[in-house]
Structures are given as C-alpha cells and as structure tokens.
Symmetry: C2
Subunit: 132 residues, 2 copies
Amino acid sequence: MNDMMDQEIKGRAASKNLAHTPGQCPMDPLLRAVSGRWTLYILWLLRSEGPQRFGALKTQIPGISAKMLTERLRGLEAAGLITREVVPTIPPQVTYAMSCRGAELHRALDGLHQVAEKWQGEGWTLEAGATE
Amino acid sequence: MNDMMDQEIKGRAASKNLAHTPGQCPMDPLLRAVSGRWTLYILWLLRSEGPQRFGALKTQIPGISAKMLTERLRGLEAAGLITREVVPTIPPQVTYAMSCRGAELHRALDGLHQVAEKWQGEGWTLEAGATE
DNA sequence: TTCCTTAGTTACCAAAAGGTACCCACTTAC
DNA sequence: GTAAGTGGGTACCTTTTGGTAACTAAGGAA
C-alpha cells in the first residue's frame, strides 16, 4: 500500500495526506537548512535589507558572536541559499546576499514577517523558557 | 534620535527600514519561538494533518526522542502556538492542535511547504554539514 | 499473576554547541 | 613604531543539548 501511495503522492504531494514516507517529506531538508539558531534571522536581514557585509550583519544581530555568524553563513552558503562575494582588498570586504534559490523564500519570509508584526502589535512575547 | 525613531517606527514597523532597535525587531520573538530543532516540523504536521496525539507525532517524526518531543511541545504551548488537551483516562490520551494564534502561521507554513516541494522536485538537498 | 498500554518524568551520561581570547594579513593614520 | 580596522581561523573551556534507561498509573488481556 505504501508503495502505491508513494507513486500517487509524487505528483500532488501532501495535498491532504503526508508526503513523507518517514524522512521523505519535502519539508524536511528545507527545515533542516533553516532551523538553526540565527538562520532565519540572517535570511530575513538579507531579504529585507539587501546584500550585507559581515560586519553589518554582526551589528544587526545583537547577541551573536563572530564564530556563530561565520558558521551560519557557511551553512547557508553550503545549502545554496546565499552567496558570498569577496573583494580581496587589504582589509577584506565580504558581502553576503540571497542566492536565486534563496530568493524563493521571500514569500515565506514575508509571510512570517507579517505575522510577526501583527503579534508584536498585540503585545505577544515569549515568557522565558518557551522552546529554550 | 533613536528615541524619536522608536516612536515613529511603532506604527509602520519595518516597511523599508529595520524596525529593530537591536532586539526590537518583530521577527525576533517569533523566530525565537520557532527556530528549535523540530519545532517547525511539528507545527507543519499539526497544520497539514490536523490535531495529533503524542504517539502519532512521535511516529511521524522519524528521529525524535520522547524527551525532545515533550520539550518542543511544551515550548510551543508556552508560546501559545499550540494547545494541549488531556483526557485523563488510564492510559492517558493527549492531543495537540494549533491554537488560534498558531493558526495565523498557516500561510507562512504553506509558503514554506510550497518552496519545499519545488526544491524537492528539483532534486535539491543539503550535502551533510550545512547548518549542522 | 504478570504484561501491555500512553504520555510522560527523572537521573545519568556523552556529545555538541557556543563563548572568549588570541592569531593573521596589509595599509593607513597617529 | 604602533594601533586600528575587516573577516575570519583556531584552541580551549564551559554550557547546553539530547539520548537512554528506568519508573509511574489503572485496568484489561493472557
């Protein structure tokens, strides 16, 4: 039965049923790429502010360390969601931007942002401990 | 100057500029609530499959342990994104569902899912190490 | 009588995440 | 002569995360 369903689902993928034979849900790799601690935040900055240099990102993400930022950026680059452009001047100059693939997340990011603004307006916050 | 901007921004929040005096970006609390390891996955299951019992969730999320699942569910509940309904029969029966607030994420989740399906169709995957 | 069920909780332990400090390169400014 | 500035890399050390195993409760089945 599962074999038959797999065939069927390929085309319509999860319109009502799961499209994931465990580990095959299309959401899995995407969420895996995006669920890191600051990852979505970085993507959102690049989406809303345009290409940014390393230092600018670090400034705009309050609590992050250089090590973390580097790590996340490397991860996003490896996932193909952002690009890294180096101008090898003497103080180096490295700019990050959404890649073409990353740009396909714009709608989803905007959707999140819209909700975020609404909830902020409603005074919604996490009392410490949620998901922490 | 920052004080004045704070006043201005409250109403229009990040239409083009950042609305985040560091730590005040509306995206921050939302992303914080949602960026845990399995969190978005759980939300997506509840969105696409409807209310689910603990055991059903555990089955559908391949590598997760009971401890992790409990922890994430508690976090989402604390954040007000899901509800927890207990029927205190002798083998207990606990059902989780999106809360009203959580339901506001539907559009964003659907957006992510749409992208996820597209990328799956294109054969996109993370070669190990990305964001890990 | 003993086991199985569900949805956890707790204690214990290993592994990973993440912070801090220190290093580099080269040019300019003091 | 030396400090600053950019975008990191590396080592060291602590904190957090997450897995595993054992325990719980009330009743029904074997």
